[in-house]
């Protein structure tokens, strides 16, 4: 393993409290909640494993001086980055879920295009494919259709809620607010002289 202190971005002389703080900030950054349905979630998961291992290593090295346990333990996130694990109503839609999970969006789209029953789950999965492709507006519309067809389904409702306000809880350094409409006050001063370079 690489230098655990370097991984956490702290010096070897850092106090236990400083290490814990650095660890928590990184854990928040790479947390599965921040990589919800993200096409790069596998990379975040690797980062999280590295950070957890580094924190546990430092804690072990310093044991007896009062360390701390890692954020939920290093194995706590084993399956949390994977999405779309709900039970399908048909074997084709189950295959669509697998295709999305493995990142094969072309296959997922082809399966959905040939599936004639545009039921709630079909709309939900169409939305999921759109989201993965970065078509956020269409994703929201499909999730909305899924919720209208099956208002009691928690999986669909959660997806729609995430599209409508999910980024409000997104990680930002130092816990700053995240969002265009939340951009207020001191952190959003008017632009300074736009081209000071050419003056």
């Amino acid at each position: 393993m690489n230098d655990p202190y370097q991984i956490l971005g702290v010096s070897e002389t850092a106090t236990d409290e400083e290490i814990k703080k650095a660890y928590r900030e990184l854990a928040r950054k790479y947390h599965p909640d921040n990589y919800h349905d993200n096409p790069l979630a596998d990379l975040a998961q690797e980062k999280m494993k590295e950070i957890n291992a580094a924190y546990e290593e430092i804690t072990k090295q310093r044991s007896g001086r009062g360390g701390g346990s890692s954020y939920g333990g290093s194995t706590a996130y084993g399956g949390a980055y994977r999405q779309y694990q709900g039970q399908s109503t048909s074997s084709v839609l189950q295959q669509v879920r697998i295709a999305i999970q493995t990142g094969n969006l072309t296959r997922a789209e082809a399966l959905l295009a040939n599936y004639t029953d545009h039921n709630a789950e079909w709309n939900f999965l169409r939305g999921a494919v759109c989201y993965r492709r970065g078509w956020m507006d269409e994703a929201r519309r499909y999730y909305q259709a899924a919720c209208e067809m099956d208002p009691t389904n928690a999986e669909y409702r959660q997806a729609l809620e995430y599209m409508e306000s999910g980024t409000r809880g997104a990680y930002a350094p130092g816990g700053s607010p995240f969002g265009t409409e939340l951009c207020l006050g001191q952190s959003c001063l008017p632009f300074c002289c736009i081209l000071p370079f050419c003056c």
Partner: protein, 294 residues
């Protein structure tokens, strides 16, 4: 591109603001050295941001005078492979956009674009010969965009996708697989965000001229005016793209450029987005004018 992607200079530490100025000057010099003085006129914040994203972690600096600053020596980032790539890609993108504007008078304003495209012709040919894959991608995606404009597609995702795919092609030369995935994802959503912000910025102008505007069509806006609900939905869709950018950014070590990128992605984009939605973002013309007069 249009100059929407900028770091919040007033909030950056002075050494980081200086670093940004140095790469801005470095890109300008690289454009001049590779593609002639006229190519320097295309310089803007968006292309500078592209140069930063494509840069390796460390920065080499030099200093000297130039046409814009003939007396006082200024520090600049020395031309690197990344700056050369950014310069070539900027020329390709700028030329195609100018040519497009010349063909489509309503959207960009015709004659001036034709003259500017002609002035950039030689630079474009050289850059396209060096980066044929990127040139091909830009050409193809702008054709797609033209077709969507012609059919007045109400899908803003589809229209934005063309520009997003185009920009993600700028990462085409990245060899390390993780870096490539990170850059492609970041640039895709940067392209999507830029396209949507530009459409939002043009709402009133397009409503007056009757030009195609996918955002106005998507939300059924009258006279280019937001309703509370449509504005909320549009902000949410922008924020999702910013989130995709920040989550990608955090998965690669951008070295010396990390503070500038972090400030731009977590603060700068929100500032510009908010200003565009509030109708207070009117710096584009000023920036262009300053660069040309500079």
């Amino acid at each position: 591109m249009f100059g929407y992607v900028r770091p919040p200079l007033a909030l950056l530490a002075p050494e980081e603001a200086d670093r940004f100025r140095r790469i801005y000057c470095g890109l300008c010099r690289t454009l001049g050295q590779r593609h002639g003085q006229r190519a320097r006129l295309i310089l803007n914040y968006d292309f500078t941001f592209l140069a930063i994203l494509l840069s390796a972690g460390e920065e080499e600096t030099g200093s000297g005078c130039c046409v814009a600053h003939p007396i006082r020596r200024r520090a600049y980032t020395r031309p690197t492979a990344a700056l050369e790539l950014a310069a070539d890609e900027s020329v390709i993108l700028a030329w195609w956009q100018l040519r497009d504007g010349a063909e489509d008078r309503d959207h960009f304003g015709g004659l001036g674009d034709r003259a500017a495209a002609a002035a950039l012709e030689g630079a474009y040919r050289a850059a396209a010969a060096l980066r044929p894959a990127f040139d091909e991608a830009v050409h193809l995606q702008l054709q797609t965009l033209h077709a969507l404009e012609a059919e007045r597609s109400p899908s803003m995702d589809r229209a934005a996708d063309a520009f997003a795919v185009l920009l993600s092609a700028a990462a085409g030369e990245a060899e390390e697989p993780v870096r490539r995935r990170v850059l492609e994802q970041l640039l895709y959503h940067l392209g999507r965000w830029v396209y949507l912000i530009d459409a939002a910025d043009d709402l009133k102008k397009d409503a007056a001229s009757g030009s195609y505007n996918p955002v106005a069509l998507r939300y059924g806006l009258e006279d280019g005016r937001w309703t509370e609900e449509s504005r909320r939905a549009f902000s949410a869709t922008l924020d999702h793209s910013v989130h995709m950018m920040t989550t990608a950014f955090e998965l690669w070590d951008f070295g010396a450029w990390t503070p500038i990128l972090e400030a731009t992605l977590y603060t700068g984009l929100f500032q510009v987005g908010r200003a565009v939605l509030d109708g207070t973002f009117h710096q584009r013309g000023k920036e262009k004018k300053n660069i040309q007069e500079g």
